[in-house]
């Protein structure tokens, strides 16, 4: 019983099988991301009412908050798949982890930049040591560390395992970092600065926000599949299935 499940997992996690399957999945994710994203943007930019405190500037929320959520979500995905790769020796999981890092880093970067663009009208400065922005910055550093370690080790397998372990250590640390930054922030800033992403959430604001979050997730799914396909091609460059595939191209 257990053995047959294991076989099944191994078959479905073989890079070759994944490569074939993912080609069919990507268009679905991409199209639904586009549709939901466009609808979300329409609701967010045209339908959602103006915030009575922040005026129109709050509309940055529809990308800033989903981007921040995604950066954290992708880190979790990275750590979990790296853990699967380390424990069960499933190569596909390592590939997913490696493919996720640049996407997650780009979302963290986006969250930082949009956050500071939002902060300028709110606080009068592009950068304020706000708890969320600071945590996001540290998260970006964690991504950089992962990618630096991944590219510094020559042997692919060691690189995967080493950076994967770092991702897991990072995940254990994220709550601690988050808590301590939050605590540090309340000490040093008091209540003079308005809270960041809690404008009184009107339902017409909440729906586009959630739609955008879903669109971002689908977008990530499409891109991570494309990137994992690249990883599979590159890592298996000497295996027969890749050679046959390339000769056909």
């Amino acid at each position: 019983m257990f053995k047959s499940i294991w076989r099944w997992i191994q078959r479905f996690s073989s890079p070759k099988y994944f490569y074939e399957m993912s080609a069919k999945l990507i268009p679905w994710f991409a199209v639904s991301a586009l549709v939901i994203g466009v609808y979300g943007l329409y609701l967010g930019l045209f339908v959602a009412p103006t915030d009575y405190q922040q005026g129109e500037s709050y509309r940055i929320i529809f990308i800033h908050v989903p981007a921040a959520w995604m950066s954290l979500f992708i880190y979790m995905v990275m750590a979990i798949s790296a853990g699967i790769g380390i424990i069960w020796q499933i190569r596909l999981a390592d590939m997913v982890a490696a493919a996720s890092a640049p996407i997650g880093a780009s979302f963290a970067f986006l969250a930082l930049v949009t956050g500071s663009l939002w902060g300028k009208p709110m606080w009068g400065a592009y950068w304020v040591w706000d708890a969320r922005l600071t945590s996001e910055l540290i998260l970006l550093f964690l991504y950089f560390g992962y990618m630096a370690l991944q590219s510094a080790i020559d042997d692919q397998r060691s690189a995967d395992k080493a950076s994967g372990l770092l991702a897991i250590v990072g995940v254990v640390n994220i709550p601690i970092i988050h808590y301590s930054v939050e605590w540090w922030n309340t000490l040093h800033q008091g209540a003079t600065v308005a809270k960041f992403d809690k404008p009184s959430m009107h339902i017409d604001m909440l729906i586009p926000l959630l739609l955008m979050a879903v669109a971002f997730k689908l977008f990530y799914a499409a891109i991570v599949l494309i990137r994992t396909r690249n990883e599979a091609l590159y890592r298996d460059r000497n295996r027969r299935w890749v050679r046959e595939l390339i000769e056909k191209l």
């Binding site: 073989s14 890079p15 070759k16 020796q89 020559d154 042997d155 692919q156 397998r157 890592r235 298996d236 460059r237 000497n238 295996r239 027969r240 299935w241 050679r243």
Partner: protein
């Protein structure tokens, strides 16, 4: 005693070997042969449990070396390319710290006998940095002798040894075999061993060409 079953090793996406099977009984000597880069060192590191194989298992007394870790490591000693000698410790301290990792307590005079056997008599207080590389390797020979292991895994044990050193290594292997121990080794130097010996050849023609290979 030691059994290797369908071992597979991949390095930089090159298949070094696959479906490798052999076993080693008490009192057997086995040489791993093959050209540079064919995976001899990787194989020895897999046998020691330092490197994880892409497929297959290594069994010690019927159980995998992971399951039987404590017993295996108490009975196996490995010597790699590196000398494991600290320049700031004396010869005696060096050998003691090596034995400590194996949780062995050995009397001073036993160590002295072993040292004199490998040609390092009265070197006990000399710091490691004052030794030549051949002398450092000789400390390792004394360590193998004292380790009390049944299985010796030796990766290029003749590196940096002079003629007497080579002869010493050869006689030690034969002695160990006659006492019922077993040895796996690799070497690029000719080793004249006056005993029964088997060999496993890695990187035969079929593997050299097989830079392309199949899944599973």
């Amino acid at each position: 005693m030691l059994e290797i079953k369908s071992l597979e090793c991949v390095r930089d996406d090159r298949l070094l070997f696959s479906d490798l099977n052999f076993s080693l009984d008490d009192g057997e000597v086995l040489q791993i042969e093959g050209s540079n880069g064919c995976g001899k060192t990787s194989l020895l590191r897999i046998i020691c449990g330092l490197r994880l194989a892409e497929g297959g298992q290594v069994y010690w007394r019927g159980e995998t070396i992971r399951a039987n870790r404590e017993d295996y490591y108490a009975n196996m000693v490995y010597i790699g390319h590196l000398p494991c000698i600290k320049g700031d410790l004396t010869v005696l301290e060096n050998i003691r710290s090596l034995l400590d990792t194996r949780s062995l307590t050995v009397e001073d005079d036993v160590i002295e006998t072993a040292l004199s056997k490998v040609g390092l008599a009265s070197y006990e207080d000399v710091p490691g940095k004052a030794l030549s590389s051949g002398q450092r390797r000789r400390i390792l020979l004394a360590f193998i002798e004292l380790a009390g292991a049944k299985l010796w895994v030796l990766d290029e044990p003749l590196t940096a040894l002079d003629v007497q050193g080579v002869a010493l290594m050869e006689s030690m292997i034969i002695e160990h075999q006659q006492a019922g121990g077993s040895v796996i080794f690799t070497t690029h130097h000719g080793m004249q061993l006056d005993c029964e010996m088997r060999s496993v050849k890695l990187g035969g023609k079929e593997y050299m060409k097989a830079s392309t290979w199949d899944e599973e």
